[in-house]
């Protein structure tokens, strides 16, 4: 039975005001059961206030083979990080 069930990616908002984060993936026959399963598997210890599920096949992922052209060029561009500014002491949480 399980091999017929599609895979779903689960995103959980842990608190109001925070974004949904990827929590993991699970099997379910449809979206409603995927929500139920996500509730039981990922939020039984009060981890969340909202759940999104999306069928894994609907996610387009970057190809690891392309990593060198996608990500490596950013390596030597330290100036893209705003680390050259002095922060006033009053500014917190930067």
């Amino acid at each position: 039975m399980k091999k017929d069930w599609p895979l779903w990616e689960v995103f959980v908002r842990s608190k109001n005001g925070l974004e949904h984060r990827h929590f993991g993936s699970l099997h379910a026959p449809d979206a409603q059961i995927a929500i139920n399963n996500a509730r039981d598997v990922y939020t039984r210890r009060k981890e969340g206030v909202s759940i999104w599920v999306v069928e894994s096949k609907n996610i387009t992922a970057s190809n690891p083979d392309d990593n060198s052209e996608l990500f490596d060029p950013a390596e030597d561009k330290a100036y893209r990080h705003p680390t050259f500014y002095t922060l006033p002491d009053d500014v917190k949480h930067m």
Partner: protein, 251 residues
């Protein structure tokens, strides 16, 4: 209404949660897959938690200085008041889901009424439990619809489970003389008022699940009077083993 009536009444509610919790607990590690395994044991734990609240209350009412473990584990078979429905075995997933749904719909309606109880303890337990039970019903109802309206095999198994378990539904509404005293005192839920809503909700879901309502009019009962099916002894042997082998043991 005496304390004895009230205790007897609470057993009639709590023992259902205890025995169904035990039945579902048997599935731990044996569910059809990881997700449903966790879901069913979650429900088992919810039911066990509710049972503890009731048993702590019973222990408080008891003149013999009992504790919740005595109440849960040291009674004899005929002293348990659970309905026959909840002691039925985990034959297959369709049975588990159907048994659960037949119980959950009743449980929800019962707790809805028990929230109006003039007994503050029962009212508080009902208020806390109803949120859990609302989810139990959603879980089992969602599954029953999918099994019924699923493949030819899942429909056949679901229909078989419905046919076999149907005769245990009527007992849910049985009221003993002691129960009636508690209901008259405003402490208990008036079960006869729930019956029509129960069968209406079940029929609606079975229709959605493309399953037929059995036409049989013969209903089985006995559990609430302490007369159980052949399964009950095995359940208790499993459940009581630790307390009977190591009296007064604590976790």
């Amino acid at each position: 209404m005496s304390n004895k009536d009230l205790t007897h009444y609470i057993y009639g509610i709590a023992d259902n949660a205890l025995i169904l919790g035990q039945r579902l607990g048997e599935l731990c590690g044996h569910g059809p897959n990881l997700e449903t395994d966790i879901a069913m044991t979650n429900i088992a734990l919810d039911l066990l938690g509710q049972t503890r609240s009731y048993f702590q209350y019973i222990a408080k009412l008891s003149p013999d200085n009992l504790n919740e473990d005595d109440v849960a584990f040291l009674r004899k078979e005929h002293e348990y008041r659970n309905v026959l429905l909840v002691e039925q075995p985990n034959t297959d997933f369709a049975y588990i889901i159907t048994r659960q749904y037949f119980f959950d719909v009743f449980h929800f309606l019962l707790l809805e009424q028990l929230q109006q109880s003039t007994d503050v303890n029962l009212m508080a337990i009902a208020k806390k439990s109803i949120k859990e039970v609302s989810y139990h019903k959603r879980f089992s109802g969602d599954w029953l619809i999918r099994l019924g309206d699923g493949t030819a095999i899942s429909q056949e198994k679901a229909q078989q489970a419905v046919n076999d378990l149907w005769m245990y539904t009527n007992e849910l509404f049985e009221v003993s003389e002691g129960d009636q005293h508690v209901i008259d005192a405003g402490y208990g839920a008036n079960l006869s008022e729930l019956k029509d809503r129960y069968y209406k909700e079940i029929s609606d879901t079975l229709a959605k699940a493309t399953l037929n309502i059995p036409e049989e009019s013969y209903f089985q009962n006995g559990g609430k009077k302490g007369i159980h099916s052949e399964h009950m002894g095995y359940i208790l042997a499993d459940m009581q083993y630790m307390q009977r082998t190591y009296p007064n043991m604590k976790w």
